[in-house]
Symmetry: C2
Subunit: 163 residues, 2 copies
């Protein structure tokens, strides 16, 4: 199955991570590749302990304007995804990949080609602005729609909730 | 913070569970109370291992039409939530509580009263049809909107993905 979590609301990455936990609870192999992100979040330490492989390709801060370095890292992340898919994990999570496509850091075609090779691997793609062609290709799409968020009230990210 | 995950799309419970993992990754106390659900899912076994407390109040099958037993179990679940809040966990997850309210198994007022006692505890409420008054009260609300789901193509729940 190909699953897409998109939209501007909270819950895309955390939902993918909740699914990682569910799968590892069944002793299934899970691999996470994070585009545009780097850093030890609360969950990443735990993932390593649980045997979930996690690879991060990004700068510490979230990318607003892409540089050559961002482009290269996104390419590396995609290459890693191709490599890891060959190991036939039960679940492969491409976190923030939709944003990488949207920013022009990787080609949609290269991502779709990856999905076509999936066979028995379930793939989750997260991030805002999932392109229509990806939505068409996917088996399940949820739009996480922001109704309200405390960020909008000027409240900053909270340790344990956001990271 | 009071967080609500509602809507008809996949990702409400899994997102709450992803947040449980994030919090426990920071060694914070997490308690999960599940309304209308019972059974060992992939994640529940793992939660116990990680020291996340999880309490289930439901039948094995999802409730479509509520019986007296369902009403009593939902009341017990709410009582447990009041009790556990006194322990001041970092995160308290009330899974499917919105559905229990919507079905008339528990009173919205009793849930709002609970939220008012939260103090330093963050509470996540999941489930379809979150009532407007709850949305108003919450600090963050995401609507998980179904764009498509493979259930609609006649595909059944997959072990490791849905349970």
């Amino acid at each position: 199955m190909i699953l897409v979590f998109t939209g501007d609301g909270k819950g895309k990455t955390t939902s993918a991570f909740g699914m990682a936990i569910r799968a590892i609870g069944h002793q299934k192999k899970v691999i996470i590749i994070q585009f545009l992100k780097k850093g030890k979040y609360g969950e990443t330490k735990l993932f390593e302990k649980l045997g979930i492989e996690i690879y991060q390709f990004g700068r510490k801060d979230f990318v607003l304007e892409a540089t050559k370095e961002d482009y290269e890292m996104a390419q590396k992340a995609l290459k890693k995804a191709y490599e890891k898919l060959k190991e036939k994990p039960f679940l492969l999570i491409l976190d923030e990949v939709n944003v990488a496509i949207d920013m022009g850091l990787i080609k949609l075609k290269d991502v779709i080609d990856l999905l076509k090779k999936a066979e028995e691997t379930h793939i989750i793609l997260t991030g805002r602005n999932a392109p229509q062609e990806l939505i068409k290709y996917a088996d399940l799409v949820t739009e996480m729609k922001k109704i309200k968020h405390y960020y909008d009230m000027g409240i900053k990210a909270i340790e344990g909730l956001e990271y």
